[in-house]
């Protein structure tokens, strides 16, 4: 399609504010970008057009600072059916069954209104998945907060968890996994990333590509109100006192309408009456219509007077930019309007024709007969500038990395390693998150074989004997101290978690949560973290099929730790060897796959006991990680593994103890002899976070060792599982340490409930709108 200049029929609306440099600035448009708009239009933009550009050229919609970096990620594999660029990525699983999945952030809205912010985040990611024609079968979430000692943090934490729970529970999609990390760097900028996975038959895959001149464009679902106007550009700014005044932009979620919309949309997609469907997400009607048009390289026209609204007197600007929830935009086959309406009506929802695909190569918005915005061709989407920023590492972080963690003097009590272990298990980041996931329906749809509490969730897929394993991971402290290594670890940890459940890692979706990318120090983090993720994905053969970028997560006190979160999907070809993380039987042998090192940098130990985020994060060699995954899957698929749990936060001692007591109803003890590593610093051996390690329990240790040898993975028999009343026992040369399980289990299971019950009522009373 040729990019002709548009007609000059576009006229300012009476009453629209004047286009001034201040107004342009307020809309987050730089002077250079404004020049570009004027050049594209051949005239000055109208107020409505400024709003449209501000939304579509926001970081959230345009990826202008991240796209050049994201392009370097691997996106292909034979099983990838849909890579980045659509509402969600799709991979083939088995027997014609495929899964669609994506992660998305709702960080800024959740900082302002935790309950609604998190709830609408779940709503948005559900819609991204079901618009692909996939039925959502699982939700996960990755959360970051400041320390729980702050009442504000407890308010955010409880509100976010309740928002996620209420939304997913009501829609009837199980929330099966996630992670929660507490770290001072997130105090002012909590992170809320939600991931959704859906299942479809390959031939049912639906894309959001507008096509066919004369086809009607239909608004479906909830009515448009004034809520959330400019959410997309809001999500692309630093949080400041000014954000307070943006509060009316908060959106309210309606999970009941979402459930109806979900059923109606799937029916619509299967009906054959429609050509394309897309969620009206960030930047609402504007971005959904412009993006669908651009993908199909077609022109569209939309009449804002036809859009069903909730409030009187809404301007085109407001209608286009509203982020009212639970709405979809559909392109139907011409002549099938009645059928589409009938399907929606059955679910008590509206479907209203608001525009049309046109032959003329323009993106046009009218208000009745008046043209209020018009952009040539698809340039609104394709012309957004991209930026590459000079990058420099922060000298402060480089210096922190250079510090030697072994120089940190131990606390006097650390003379007893069991004291340290108990303290670590009581770190809210390590402690059980059952307080969180008991609030989530993790079982609805009766397909959850392994729910929250294990390394990865496992879902069976009806219609095949295969299953999928899901995990979401990311360690911002590692990335802060070394973005390249941290990026690798995020992918490798997710792969390990999925492999521990018995699944082959297949693909990832990712969410890049970073600070302001126009700062060279932040851009450095972004660039290197993406490079690290790419390295690992290539070796692991887990292409990136989609994701989301959330930048500007900073406030006057500073930026968050750069936090890429990786949502991994693994495939189990059969469900014969679904493997739990927890020990299963006393008497089993404990084998450590991988090797211990003297690494202690960037550990949870240093943060929780010494308040330090220093040292180099543990080295990560994707080739070794791949070998570990291969060896583990070999042993599991031969039925040699009773349980498998990877070492992550808190290191080997924490991993072993978790295996023993993560399940309240089936607890064990263990005794391990680590004398082979007696020359390592004891605290590095026990609490260092060396990568590429998995704790396995087995009744066939020789077979497990043989699998390891076959893939060149170091492996050692380190001890055995005992009965719970035997407690835990570590022997390292002449150091012997033991402790009853009960005190360790108490620290692990009670820390978060105790904190939250002490100051609980706040979140239960004020934040949730759902008091009824």
């Amino acid at each position: 399609m040729s990019d002709t200049q548009t007609s000059s029929a576009v006229q300012p609306r009476p009453g629209d504010p004047e286009i001034t440099p201040a107004l342009i600035k307020e809309h987050g448009i730089t002077p250079a970008e404004y020049e570009r708009v004027v050049e594209m239009l051949g005239r000055a933009p109208t107020f409505t057009e400024v709003g449209i550009v501000s939304a579509l050229w926001s970081e959230h919609c345009s990826y202008k600072h991240s796209r050049p970096l994201l392009r370097t990620l691997p996106t292909e594999a034979p099983w990838v059916l849909q890579g980045p660029g659509e509402n969600a990525g799709v991979i083939a699983v088995k027997d014609g069954i495929a899964v669609a999945f994506k992660v998305e952030s709702h960080n800024h809205p959740s900082a302002v209104e935790p309950y609604q912010g998190a709830a609408t985040g779940v709503g948005g990611i559900l819609r991204d998945v079901f618009t692909m024609g996939a039925r959502p079968i699982a939700l996960l979430n990755s959360l970051r907060f400041g320390p729980l000692t702050s009442p504000r943090v407890r308010y955010l934490f409880s509100g976010v968890v309740k928002g996620i729970g209420d939304y997913g529970n009501c829609v009837g999609v199980p929330t099966v996994g996630g992670e929660v990390v507490f770290d001072p760097s997130y105090e002012g900028n909590p992170l809320v990333n939600a991931m959704c996975v859906g299942v479809l038959r390959e031939e049912e895959l639906m894309l959001a590509v507008a096509q066919g001149v004369g086809n009607p464009i239909i608004a479906v679902g909830a009515r448009t109100g004034r809520d959330g106007i400019h959410g997309a550009s809001f999500a692309s700014e630093d949080l400041s006192a000014e954000s307070e005044s943006k509060r009316p932009r908060v959106q309210v979620g309606d999970p009941f309408t979402e459930k109806l919309l979900l059923e109606a949309s799937l029916e619509l997609i299967r009906s054959g009456h429609i050509v394309a469907i897309q969620d009206m997400g960030a930047a609402g009607l504007t971005s959904s219509s412009a993006e669908m048009a651009a993908r199909g390289d077609v022109g569209v026209t939309i009449d804002t007077l036809k859009v069903p609204v909730r409030e009187e007197g809404m301007t085109p600007y407001e209608i286009l930019l509203s982020e009212s929830q639970e709405r979809m935009l559909v392109v139907a086959h011409r002549g099938r309007e009645r059928e589409v309406e009938a399907i929606l009506a059955r679910w008590d929802l509206e479907a209203v024709v608001i525009g049309e695909v046109i032959a003329e190569p323009v993106y046009r918005v009218t208000e009745g007969d008046r043209v209020v915005a018009e952009f040539p061709g698809t340039r609104l989407v394709t012309d957004c500038p991209t930026y590459v920023i000079d990058s420099v590492e922060s000298p402060v972080l480089a210096a922190a990395r250079a510090r030697n963690p072994h120089d940190v003097p131990p606390l006097p009590e650390e003379i007893n390693p069991m004291w340290t272990l108990e303290r670590l298990l009581a770190s809210p980041t390590i402690a059980s998150k059952a307080w969180v996931w008991r609030q989530y329906d993790s079982m609805v749809r009766t397909s959850t074989l392994v729910g929250p509490g294990s390394d990865a969730a496992v879902m069976r897929l009806r219609g095949t004997d295969a299953g999928i394993a899901l995990s979401i991971d990311g360690n911002g402290r590692y990335v802060a101290l070394d973005p390249l290594v941290g990026g690798r670890i995020a992918v490798c940890e997710a792969a390990r978690n999925v492999a521990c459940a018995g699944a082959r890692p297949r693909a990832i979706t990712n969410n890049l949560n970073f600070g302001n990318p126009t700062r060279p120090e932040v851009y450095f983090q972004l660039k290197n973290a993406v490079a690290g993720m790419g390295d690992a994905c290539r070796v692991m053969e887990t292409p990136v099929t989609g994701g989301n970028v959330s930048l500007y997560n900073e406030n006057p006190q500073g930026a968050i730790h750069p936090t890429p979160t990786v949502g991994m999907v693994g495939v189990l070809d059969t469900l014969e060897h679904v493997t739990p993380s927890a020990f299963q039987r006393a008497g089993d042998t404990i084998v450590l796959l991988g090797d211990n090192t003297d690494e202690l940098g960037a550990s949870e130990y240093l943060l929780h006991l010494h308040g330090l985020a220093i040292g180099a994060p543990p080295a990560c060699d994707p080739v070794k990680e791949r070998a570990l995954v291969d060896a583990l899957l070999h042993a599991i698929s031969h039925g040699h593994v009773r349980s498998a749990h990877d070492c992550s936060d808190g290191g080997l001692a924490v991993a072993l103890t978790e295996c023993a007591m993560m399940r309240r109803d089936a607890q064990f003890g263990f005794e391990v002899d680590l004398t082979a590593w007696a020359d390592l610093p004891l605290r590095a051996l026990l609490f260092g976070e060396a990568q590429a390690r998995v704790v396995v329990s087995t009744d066939q240790p020789d077979a497990v060792l043989a699998s390891a040898a076959q893939f060149g993975v170091p492996a050692h028999i380190i001890g055995r599982v005992t009965a719970a009343d035997a407690g835990v026992e570590f022997l390292v040369g002449d150091v012997s340490a033991r402790l009853a399980l009960t005190s360790l289990a108490h620290a692990f299971h009670n820390t978060i409930p105790d904190i939250m019950n002490a100051g609980a009522a706040h979140g239960d009373t004020a934040s949730s709108s759902s008091i009824s």
């Binding site: 309740k162 529970n169 009837g172 109806l260 008991r438 609805v444 009766t446 074989l449």
Partner: protein, 234 residues
Amino acid sequence: MKVGIIRFPGSNCDEDAYHAVVDHLGAEAVFCWHKDHDLQGADLVILPGGFSYGDYLRPGAIARFSPIMQEVVAHAKRGAPVLAICNGFQIACEAGLLPGALLRNDHLKFVCDQVHLRVESIGTRFTSRYHVDQVITIPVAHGDGRYTADGDVLERLEGDGHVVFRYVDAAGHVTDAANPNGSLRNIAGICNSAGNVLGMMPHPERAVDTQLGSADGLPLLHSIADSLMSEALV
């Protein structure tokens, strides 16, 4: 036996009930749309879990007025069996098919967990396949499950053996810690005085397969099938 599973807007355990009945019990099941007046000849009606009408206002309050509920009430009046699970239990109470009400959990949070139930009465058509005082494992997932009724209603339920399930610990003891929602007397499930309507907050349809953690809900479905079979023989 033919099972009619009612589908309200916002039902979300309807398909789980379907799979439990069809795949695990081996019976026939059909969905009945809330706007219809047709139970399609169902012998057993299941009011499934979920969030009918979003549970806005009060769980079950709006769903009870659905057209199909007139048929469900008539079906129950005829003495035919109704199994009301979770949101279904809330709807059945609102519709007057069962006494009492289900209020916000005492801790004010949604709770999803495996819980232990003690079978209090095996004399019902829903529990004949269990044995007295049997402790079974069935999941709960609800925000409004605190069973409440007036004192005399509770006495009557107890006296008539119509408290069917109670929350207990693994050893079968009624304790506060075993009560996931603050229900009076740890009540998890009750039946009506005619014995043909069972309401329960736990989800037997989620406990039909050891792969899912428990198959303890299956005897409940078999018990109903048995009772329908013996009725048919009379």
